[in-house]
């Protein structure tokens, strides 16, 4: 009996390790160590005088664990390219058509690196679009930098990507720090509008990289915006029960709760909050499980009044977003989402740069991108436009915070594209 006991204990521990090893990974929030820049070896490719076709590389995870994200982006890019070519291509280049040469990164930083090399040296692309994951963007952008080829990133949000001093790297999307700050801006706005003060904040985040990074950023921002963090709860997303966590939250009674969750834990949190009758003036989730249809379906009307950072929403109050989404839905049967709407935007940024540069010379294209100003009404994202700073970061980006109102996510932030006024403070559970 004794021997059996110890055998079982060992196996139990092994199982425990298995659970730990299966912790989910967050695609867009991976800071990646970057190898030092090798010395440039090849000169940039020389463009033909009157191009018929302008080749642009597209590095995306088209197979593997992130294939669904890659496929979504590819569809949006194909749609954008088709729109541009059907409207006469790049007019300043005699109507040259855009052609995307795709390369499959498989979500692997090493493969992204070699594919970038291949696109530049063999396919002779004039620019690269890519690559969703921060980890693959870090390695492939490094190669583009080496060959002096402009790299336009649509949606990798790790803060560090624009901190390398790269000259050929441009990021259209806001980064993670920016998204967190949007929540605080919305809070300030709602305080002013309602006259209800927010003093204390509770944090609840899953305890791997995605959640912990958010937790750290929130702590800095709370200081900057003058809020006190009264409870700080990291938790395991693959958990049987979150009632101790919600009890701790309830005991601290923060005015507002900020969440960073995946899907299954988001479901559990919402249900437990209801069951334990936990009320806050607002519960705000960072881009994560709460925006997925699966979450909404699982918790039903309990989702009402929750805020979520969605990056893009199909109800966005701007005509181009509605038009493009309709085309996308007619063709693919689903709506655009926060990921592929950014890919669609990136293609247009590159198109306007080519149009303005009137050249396929990568050097000229880089100079144009560095000073380009794309107005808000030309892109599907709810941003104020696209304009890069000296680090290559778009300074006009915005988050897109939605609130669940009568069973539908309505855009409440930024105010320029809102489709509803935020309900704040939200009604208590017993008043709903």
């Amino acid at each position: 009996m004794k021997r059996r006991c110890s055998a079982i204990s060992v196996v139990t521990i092994v199982l425990g390790l298995l659970v730990a090893a299966c912790a989910p990974a967050k695609p867009t929030a991976m800071p990646t160590p970057v190898v030092p820049t090798p010395v440039p070896t090849t000169a940039p490719p020389i463009p033909t005088p009157v191009p018929q076709v302008v080749k642009i590389g597209g590095i995306y995870p088209l197979t593997g664990a992130y294939a669904a994200l890659g496929e979504g982006d590819k569809k949006a890019i194909d749609l954008a390219v088709e729109e541009i070519n059907a409207a006469g291509g790049i007019k300043s280049l005699g109507g040259a058509k855009i052609q995307i040469i795709y390369a499959d990164s498989q979500g692997d930083p090493k493969i992204a690196l070699t594919e970038a090399e291949r696109l530049i040296t063999q396919e002779k692309v004039v620019a690269i679009l890519g690559s969703i994951l921060s980890s693959t963007t870090a390695t492939s952008a490094e190669v583009a930098e080496k060959y002096k080829i402009p790299y336009l990133n649509e949606g990798s949000t790790s803060v560090t990507l624009t901190e390398h001093g790269w000259k050929y790297f441009f990021r259209a999307t806001p980064h993670d720090g920016f998204y967190c700050e949007e929540e605080f801006k919305l809070l300030k706005h709602m305080e002013e509008r309602s006259g209800v003060q927010v003093k204390t904040i509770g944090l609840m985040y899953e305890n791997t990289l995605f959640g912990k990074t958010a937790g750290d950023v929130w702590k800095q921002l709370a200081q900057k915006y003058g809020y006190e963090i009264v409870v700080d709860i990291p938790y395991d997303a693959k958990v049987a029960d979150l009632s101790p966590e919600i009890t701790a939250l309830k005991a601290a009674a923060p005015d507002v709760v900020l969440l960073a969750s995946y899907t299954q834990d988001a479901i559990l949190i919402t249900k437990t909050m209801k069951q334990m009758d936990f009320n806050a003036k607002a519960v705000m989730a960072l881009d994560g499980g709460q925006i997925l249809p699966m979450y909404v379906e699982a918790v039903g009307e309990l989702a009402n009044y929750i805020f979520a950072e969605a990056r893009w929403n199909k109800d966005l109050g701007k005509p181009i977003a509605q038009e493009v989404n309709k085309k996308y839905r007619d063709r693919y049967g689903v709506d655009l989402d926060g990921h592929n709407a950014r890919a669609h935007t990136a293609v247009y940024v590159l198109y306007y740069a080519l149009e303005q540069a009137a050249s396929t010379d990568p050097e000229k294209l880089r100079e144009t991108l560095a000073k380009i100003e794309v107005p808000a009404d030309k892109i599907v994202m709810g941003w104020d436009g696209v304009k890069f700073d000296e680090k290559g970061q778009n300074t006009l980006g915005h988050g897109c915070i939605v609130q669940m109102l009568q069973g539908e996510y309505k855009t409440v932030w930024p105010l320029s594209v809102k489709t509803a006024d935020a309900v704040f403070p939200v009604p208590r559970w017993d008043e709903r």
Binding site: M1, C5, V11, A240, S243, P244, A251, T263, I267, Q275
Partner: protein, 288 residues
């Protein structure tokens, strides 16, 4: 610390502990009689949760109503698995037995992934997020149900084993299967019944879980891990042990989160686990 918070913490811990206990019961029965650690326990729990889910989505049956049906289905499944797999490996070396049930777990999880996608599915009932307010302490209705049914089930299983003919035969088989066979007990049949009963109680656990939790192909891992710990902690093969183990883990987790920090929730429950094993390696109710 506020008294109400402490009372709430105790209630939370006991209720979730009751749920852990009911998940552990079937596991402990099978081990107690057959000496088999059923590593496919998590998959059985997952199958019972999906069964309960489909009873609801296809036939509109409330998970509490379908509880006996789910238990029946799992009982039959238990007999099938016992006949086709376990029977053939009973005399195999320990490691082969472990790996066989582990293989079954992997197979069933992947089959579920293929058939039902990795999506989370849950049942919305009127009571799934209801709570009874006792002087400011909230008692979750579905968990209270699970708790009460866990105690009832343990009682029924105990009485069955202690008082009925089949129970005596089961105990005889557990003590010495060769002697039992010589006394005219049909040992393979007893094993089938035990495996069936073990899975049926897992079926009841799964059905009860569906009243407040969601299911997905690897849901078993989340609950089964705690069930293994509860069994070892309380004493392998003992009904009282499964209940005690489940309750201790539930309460330790709950107080760890409130009194120390939510980040240390698992630290406290595992510390309790290690301390009990150091003092009583056979578990609280285990026999040496």
């Amino acid at each position: 610390m506020d008294h109400r918070v402490l009372a709430q913490t105790l209630v939370n811990g006991l209720l979730i502990g009751g749920v852990y206990a009911i998940v552990a019961l079937g596991l402990n029965l099978i081990y107690g009689v057959m000496g088999i650690i059923n590593f496919s326990h998590g998959a059985m729990l997952m199958l019972s949760m999906y069964t309960s889910y489909f009873m609801f989505s296809l036939f509109g049956l409330d998970p509490l109503v379908s509880l006996p049906l789910v238990a029946m289905f799992l009982f039959l499944l238990g007999i099938v698995i016992q006949t086709l797999l376990i029977d053939r490996i009973l005399t195999a070396p320990t490691i082969s037995r472990l790996i066989a049930t582990f293989g079954l777990l992997i197979f069933l999880e992947n089959l579920a992934l293929l058939l039902w996608s990795p999506n989370w599915r849950c049942i919305k009932t009127a009571y799934s997020v209801q709570a009874i307010n006792l002087g400011g302490v909230l008692v979750s209705v579905p968990r209270l149900l699970a708790f009460v049914i866990a105690l009832l089930l343990a009682g029924v299983l105990y009485l069955t084993i202690a008082k009925t003919d089949i129970g005596i035969a089961i105990r005889a088989t557990a003590q010495n299967k060769r002697a039992a066979a010589l006394m005219g007990i049909n040992v393979p049949r007893i094993y089938k019944i035990v495996f069936g009963i073990g899975l049926a109680s897992t079926g009841i656990a799964g059905g009860l879980l569906m009243t407040f939790y969601y299911t997905f192909p690897t849901v078993g891992l989340i609950w089964a891990l705690t069930a293994y710990i509860a069994c070892v902690l309380g004493g392998l093969g003992s009904f009282a042990g499964a209940i005690a183990g489940g309750l201790i883990i539930g309460v330790a987790e709950s107080f760890g989160a409130i009194v120390i920090s939510p980040a240390f929730k698992n630290l406290i429950s595992f510390a309790a686990f290690i301390i009990v094993l150091l003092l009583r390696p056979q578990g609280i109710f285990g026999r040496k």
